[in-house]
Symmetry: C2
């Protein structure tokens, strides 16, 4: 059993030993660029952790782990175009540093390379099982991204719709990463499914927490601009919950704030937070997160391996879900 | 052995029996849209023809055929964004009818669906072989598109570079389609390779012919605006050949025309054509096309099946390469 930093070292070595082709440079340079922007590499680590629950020779799962990381970065590269985002992890995005053509085409080739790595896994049956999981999850990520795009212009979004969106856009890839690790290790179908559910539900809990931290997090620890969601009028879970349970006057006030651009951002953030606070929204959302988190860990507990083998995965995910608020 | 129209009927039925999901509608509707714009469906037909050289139950190859058609349309949808093209087959392009976000995301999901269909093929070994071919070809198509983008701003492009670009961007997919059909039918590696080479070389010949027809084709038969290449100052094979062999004065005159926007298009087309004509460029380019075409058919001849089985494939490709000039 290797700890997270040891797994990340293996992933870094694998990526160095398996570089992109050098030509055409304009196609592959942006792929190298986005991969070195300093992401946490949580997803490929989850593939390896899913594997290590069942087997020790974790190197076997490295191509699948790298495929998941390439897929994640493909989706970031394309999402950044759609969001017209100038920055990613504090650095210029690919479409901003180069141009949209580059970000489309380099993203496309990264997705294709993800499949190239999947096809390198062990025997054909396992490779095909992995590709089937990957296909399912990749489709769902596109569907989640589309829902997110749709929500921007929809006047009414329900909480179940919102939860489905974050599940598809983000959580299923965490579940799929663990499931792929388990499949590489020839785990039983039941165990692989429990791991998928663990990752999926923990992923939803994580996204709910992300909504909370954006408004209530400690700026020094959160690592993003706090209250960006309020200033961008995002329909987060905090907003949807308020509109569901708050008195009509608070709903009206919130909707009015959400139709303004923030001429005085400090005033707007304070006013919206006050609406959330007097309706106990942070507490309600925290409970929602707890429900997903507990359900997630029930699935991890059901996986039929000794508890000791689960220690690193358990700690990694628990740490992610207990970030300071 | 089925003729082309019968194969196209099978492809049309397969696509109707295997529709995209209905939701999110904004994701899948543009996929249906581009697939019904009336493309010739040559590539999926080539998969089926590659199969029918060796086996009769061509239905087996339909998922692979459809995967190739989805890939082709994915690449069109993304290329149209990069080219800022408003029209495709006389209809609005996806990014023009909807927007760039839609064209990126719907293109992405079409590529993923291509892999979903590939993963449905027969046994795992065959599916993985198909995915390996597909991965190789899809990577090359991206590389070719990048070269095409790079050429727009490069001052000097050589003829070998140009031939490599059209090979990657267009020809390898025709070769890959035939190879995939052969692999579905459990053909020998040698036969599958000959079919790949046949498609690849015929594809290069076809693209060379396309350059010729753009300037010298009969507008009624060519189906595109004639002389568009000259008016857009494209570095076609005609231009590159002229710059290679013509006297310095003709090269200078051509380069001057290519640095102007066409205030008088009729005058510009006539002048550039005259440069081509007095250097016998159409004849030279025709010979270049013939060389690729003959080499292509040598590979088809080498495929170890009775001549009668090759009749439809031979006729289909020969017809494409003998379009009126």
């Amino acid at each position: 059993m290797r700890d997270l930093s040891k797994l990340l070292d293996l992933i870094a070595s694998f990526s160095q030993e398996n570089p992109f082709p050098t030509s055409p440079i304009a196609l592959y340079e942006p792929c190298d660029y986005i991969l070195t922007l300093g992401g946490k590499r949580l997803r490929p680590a989850l593939v390896l952790m899913g594997y290590e629950l069942f087997q020790d020779n974790v190197e076997t799962a490295l191509p699948a782990a790298w495929a998941v990381e390439l897929f994640h970065n493909f989706s970031l590269m394309h999402d950044d175009i759609m969001d017209a985002a100038p920055l990613r992890r504090g650095q210029p995005t690919v479409h901003f540093k180069w141009n949209t053509t580059t970000a489309i085409l380099s993203g496309d080739v990264m997705l294709i390379f993800a499949y190239r790595f999947l096809a390198r896994i062990g025997d054909a049956d396992t490779a095909l099982q992995l590709i089937n999981i990957f296909n399912r999850v990749a489709t769902e990520v596109c569907e989640g991204q589309q829902m997110d795009v749709d929500f921007e212009t929809l006047s009414a979004v329900t909480i179940p719709e919102y939860l489905q969106m974050i599940e598809l856009k983000t959580a299923v890839l965490l579940g799929g990463a663990l499931e792929m690790g388990a499949v590489c290790a020839q785990a039983s179908e039941t165990d692989a499914r429990h791991l998928y559910e663990f990752g999926r539900l923990a992923g939803v809990a994580f996204q709910i927490q992300d909504d909370l931290l954006d408004t209530y997090g400690d700026p020094a620890k959160f690592g993003k601009q706090v209250s960006g969601d309020i200033l961008q009028n995002k329909k987060t879970l905090l907003v949807l919950k308020t509109l569901e349970i708050a008195p009509a006057s608070d709903c009206r006030e919130l909707q009015e704030w959400m139709q303004t651009s923030a001429e005085n951002p400090i005033e707007k953030v304070a006013a919206v937070r006050a609406i959330f606070d007097r309706n106990a929204i942070p507490e309600l959302i925290s409970k929602e997160k707890q429900r997903f988190q507990q359900e997630a860990f029930r699935h991890l507990n059901a996986v039929q391996v000794p508890e000791a083998r689960k220690a690193i995965l358990k700690k990694t995910v628990a740490d992610l879900l207990e970030r300071e608020q």
